[in-house]
Symmetry: C2
Subunit: 84 residues, 2 copies
């Protein structure tokens, strides 16, 4: 079995997991019900996952969590724009 395909699919799904949340905030111009604690907690978490990926020398873990961090930064930006 080509395990790297499973890893890549997993990475794509979770890496871009907050993209639908970002799009929903943009479309509705509202973020009232979104938990900012969840967004900051995930940010701290993916930073540590990326470090753990360096330890494992696993490029998939490193790349996935680095890109997730970028999407989280975007989500946090829109949260503060639309949290009314």
């Amino acid at each position: 079995m080509e395990w790297y395909i499973i890893g890549i699919l997993a990475a794509l799904l979770t890496t871009f997991g907050f993209v639908p949340q970002i799009l929903k905030m943009i479309n509705t111009r509202s973020a009232k019900d979104v938990s900012i604690v969840t967004l900051y907690q995930f940010s701290a978490g993916v930073i540590l996952w990326a470090l753990y990926g360096f330890h494992l020398r696993d490029h998939i873990i490193i790349a996935a969590n680095s890109i997730t961090l970028i999407t989280l930064a975007v989500a946090i930006g829109f949260y503060h724009r639309y949290d009314r």
Copy 2:
């Protein structure tokens, strides 16, 4: 460096990353702005991450993603209860 501590901290932060979102939905009795696509996309993703963890024989990856799946199921349940 005790890398397993980094892995455990990363696992705790992301494993329970949706808990604040669950608590916010319970407290406000509202889930209007929460993206259900994000919740389902993460569910699919963590299932594949757990499989990838089996491949790497990494207990932290397996455990973290399995528990995350449970919290996502709870979050999806409250979403459908409060999505009004």
